[in-house]
Every structure is written in structure tokens, then in C-alpha cells.
Amino acid sequence: MIKIFGCIIVFAACALIGYFLASSKYERVKEIRSFIQALNMLETEIRFALCTLPEAFIKISLLVDEKTGEIFKLASENMEKIKTNASSAWKSALEEKGTSFSLNSEDFLILKSLGDSLGNSDVENQVKSIRLVVERLKNQEHKAEEERYKNGKLLKSMGVLGGLTLVIIFC
């Protein structure tokens, strides 16, 4: 009886490991998409609304989904309270919240490169650099989609099958 229970637990653990590893790939695609959306909104704000960066960030953080919005909120708070300039506020917000994302280090490099031009030049140049970052992120999104397609299913099935194998060999 206890043996069967133990086998079920081992199998469930292996299957969950597989799902967990696969889900980080899914999450990465979703997060890149939400960043692209947020950056498009930022471009619109900068070009047409002419409000300050902290206000723009707060507006965006309310419109995109939770996790991405938190980075924008934190960056805006850094700018208001600690009075750092835009690029270091953006970079430090990325570094603080970065670990809770399932993004690649490449993605983070691209996002950090946005910080170099924020608040440092006039509207046209900022819009151009935001466009550039959005293009690179779209590239990454394609690659992440491919990777998710190739590896996501594989990891899930490997988790389940590996769990079954362990159960059969050892029980």
C-alpha cells in the first residue's frame, strides 16, 4: 500500500519537473510579447503625450500585465524618490526584478540597451531607439517561439516518461 503511494509520488514529481521546465519556455514567449506591447505604448506616450518619463512609466504599468508592469512601476519610483536619471533607474529596476522573469540573458541585454538612450536625447532619437529595441525583441520572440515549439513538448513528455521508467524499474 505504502509502496504504491511512494510510486505515485515519484511519478508525480518527475512529471511535474518536466512540466515546470517546459513552462519556463512558454512564459518566456509571453513575457517577450508583453514587453513588446509595453514598449510600443512607451513610444506612443513619448511621441504624442509629451509627459515626463515617470508618469509615462506609471501609465504603462497600469495597462500591461502584472509582472511587466512592476518593472515600469519600480523604474518610475526610482526616478521620483531616489532622483536617479532615467537610464540608471531603468537598469536598476531590471536588475532587481529580473530574476523573477524567465527571460534569457540576451533578452535582458536588449532591454538594458534601451536604458542607454532613455531620457538622454530628444523625442525623435528616443523613438528611434525604442523602435530598434522593439525590432530586436520581435526577433527574440521568433526564436523563443521556435524553441518553445521544439523543446516544450519534448520536456513535458520526457518528464512523464522518465517518471514512468523510474517507477517501473524501482517498484
Partner: protein, 64 residues
Amino acid sequence: MGIDLIFKIAAIGILVSVLNQVLIRAGREEQAMLTTLAGLIVVLMMVIKEISRLFETVKSVFNL
């Protein structure tokens, strides 16, 4: 020589072939080959005790 051993070996065989196919479809042929070999080794290890008992029995039957 219980019937359980036969069932276990059959189940491992099925699982290894499914794993093989999944890995080949995902494009990872070297890893598919590795899992096949690993399954083979595991089954051999399970069976080797019975083989040695078989040899003992044969030796005792023919008084060698």
C-alpha cells in the same frame, strides 16, 4: 523466476521504444540512441542474476 520480471522487462521495452520515438521526432537522435542503450543495460542488469542461476542449474544437472 517470477512472472513479475517478465512484465517489468516488457514494460521497460515499451517505454524505451516510446522514448526512442519521442527523441527521434524531436531531432535528437544521439540522445535517442543513448536511451536505447541505457534501457538495454538496465534490462541486462535485471536479467543477469537469472542467467547466472541458469548456468548453475545447468552445471548441477550435468554434474560438471
